[in-house]
Subunit: 418 residues, 2 copies
């Protein structure tokens, strides 16, 4: 079973927008055993869309189209599809109600042009948009499928998960494929690979291991395929357990876990709440923690003490400490930890101080020098890190490493494993 992903939009061609939809869809279809043979981007033009459909349906079983569904005259996907599939556009009251609902939710007046979005092809399955106004459509003819979705990533993703995947599973016979992920942080690919040499060599037929690195983290994907579903599941359980054991000390979670969710769960399990004192990371760690729904159950708050005065007035960092050791020091981080615990009455604290860059570095403490500490009322741990010369990366790495340290602290492993 193979597929072509087709992205429509001048903004993609001229590079105004980086196409992330295509990779997301590619990843999702790959996990269910559909092979992506092409991922093409074309202009908002009826002739280009028609030509792409003609060419694509010769080669592929399905085409997944994103973009070009808005109410303006340069949105040509739906008219092009309607002509291609000889559709009449008919009024869909449910779509119209959804459009009204979305406008109402956003506190905006409905404008006339959006009425047009409620006309859908009579010979297609309509995908109702739970996140926005433009509906999607699925044409399924002669065993081939053409799906059209909005280009807005979160609208597209909701449609893929709620409607398109179930539709594909109903209408196409797919091979048995399983994917499992092991999520690691604070360790490089090379070091992981050295732990997995035996595992990789002994992988059975139909099984593969991939390394997917991303700022401070590496995701390991084990994928397997087999004609027999039961045998596949059993073999995957075996292989997954084997790999997980080999990299256990670097692993924070599996599959769809996120580091911030894992940390949140641990805090809940241990009935601990958290405060954060951030300097160079400037609020990023608090943002990670609060990106998790329900984080108010364990996050008391944070002190973003970007200036020395704030470190002193809010956290009680001593002037003498700043004078003697500087804001970027283990001594200052230690006082940030105790000060934030005291001020917030939280059980556990993270504190971070460093040189994010590009300015502010010295020979002694070059850009990328970051001290990260974790403490409760009884103990504290502080580590010095040397990250990169790049401001954004230093902020992001501070976040990943701080959360990984907090996790290990909560698990009682901070002394040995970071």
């Amino acid at each position: 079973m193979n597929a072509i992903i087709l992205s429509i939009g001048d903004e993609l061609l001229i590079g105004q927008t980086i196409n992330t939809n295509s990779a997301w869809i590619g990843q999702l279809l790959t996990t269910i055993g559909i092979k992506i043979i092409e991922a093409n981007t074309i202009a908002d033009s009826q002739s280009a869309i028609t030509a792409a459909l003609d060419e694509g349906l010769k080669k592929a079983d399905m085409m997944l189209i994103t973009g070009g569904l808005g109410p303006t005259s340069d949105d040509l996907t739906l008219p092009s599809l309607a002509q291609y599939f000889k559709s009449e556009l008919v009024w869909d009251e449910k779509v119209w109600q959804n459009i009204q609902h979305i406008f109402h939710m956003r506190g905006r007046e409905i404008n006339e042009s959006s009425k047009q979005l409620a006309y859908v092809p009579h010979n297609a399955t309509v995908i109702y948009n739970t996140q926005g106004t433009a509906p999607g459509t699925i044409f399924y003819q002669n065993g081939k499928m053409v799906v059209s979705m909005p280009g807005v990533p979160y609208e597209m993703k909701a449609m893929m998960e709620l409607d398109v995947l179930p539709f594909i599973k109903r209408h196409f016979k797919l091979p048995f494929i399983l994917n499992r992920h092991i999520l690691t942080a604070g360790v490089g690919e090379t070091q992981l690979a050295s732990k997995l040499t035996d595992f990789e060599r002994e992988l059975p037929e139909g099984f593969k291991l991939a390394y997917l690195p991303n700022i401070g983290k590496v995701k390991l994907r084990i994928s397997g395929t087999n004609a027999d579903e039961t045998a596949l599941k059993a073999e995957m359980d075996l292989q997954f357990a084997k790999a997980a054991e080999a990299v256990e000390r670097y692993t924070y979670g599996f599959d769809n876990d996120t580091l911030e969710q894992v940390v949140g769960k641990l805090l809940i399990e241990r009935s601990k709440n958290l405060c954060i004192a951030e300097s160079c990371s400037g609020g990023y760690i608090s943002h990670l923690i609060t990106s998790v729904a329900g984080s108010s159950n364990y996050f008391k708050g944070a002190f973003i003490t970007y200036s020395n005065e704030m470190k002193m007035s809010q956290l009680g960092v001593q002037y003498s400490t700043l004078e003697a050791f500087g804001a970027v020091s283990a001594e200052t981080v230690k006082e940030m930890l105790s000060g934030s615990l005291k001020a917030s009455q939280a059980d556990v604290a993270i504190a971070v101080s460093g040189v994010a860059g590009p300015g502010g570095g010295s020979e002694d403490k070059p850009v990328g020098t970051v001290y990260i500490g974790i403490a409760d009322r009884h103990q504290h741990y502080i580590r010095k890190f040397s990250f990169t010369t790049h401001r954004e990366r230093n902020i992001q790495l501070s976040g990943v490493v701080a959360l990984m340290l907090l996790r290990n602290f909560l698990l009682g492993r901070l002394q040995t494993e970071v």
Copy 2:
């Protein structure tokens, strides 16, 4: 003059890597007046590459190919091109010396397989790789150009800038093109369009206006082309000024400005420093502010008071206020403003409290209800917003709107224009 961008690599199709090369090349070619008609991604397969060349050269004047140039057996771009253009592969001593140099620089032993990279097509222009081992090639036949470059972004970028662009300018006659951008926030496309109706209708031949929306912001792009460069520049200045005037009240910057930089510059110009009191936005606004290098010059810090206790202990919000009006209220935000100004001794404060969701909504204050306030020692402004049902968007919208309000406050326009 038009072009096709062709990316080669299974890792792109399965979504392991997001294709950023394509957008980068598209942007660069667009600025010199080359129209991108397609951006296609295909597998590491000789038949796919040959088919893409056949199809592509029918439609385009040039094809820019990235990827598939490594020394391993699944790197098939060069053999495919060599066969397509009936090339013999010949030894290139200069490429070989560069490969040795790169290995030496990286402190690595040369392996046998990399010798193969020094064989290049006899009938192509070789592009020497200043950043890595694999050379690029340019085939230029019958007025059509096919460029092949490595998939590693920084290797490709160096080749484009140092060799490919000069080659294109030598061999193709390009039109003069200019692009200018007006950056707006806190206003929808529809409302902007209503302000620009006259402007759009009166746009001269060769000029276009595009709307590029992105969470709370809309970027307007005016592009123009003309055979006469001086006339183009004069006309662009005129059109740009006209559009900028029409949407002036929504505009925070131009071209490469960012909202957080604009706000930072205003704070510096007015010698004001800033503190932030965040509840539902959870540190995101502080993260935006501190993503700007040098923000320590005007950012004192922030209070991420995620719990009511922190609102009371850190900001002096009254228990009675929380009891009577709730944490999500203008009254609480007012006390957050005055409390943060007092505790930080900053000149200006932002305060935000709302329901980010997905939980915590009520009939009275549904998910997406957010109060945002700005204050100095003399005055305060607080507005209520109804954003979306989506946690991440609500956090991001809070950030954009808060910075836009701060900007308008600093410009003395908050009462009339938000």
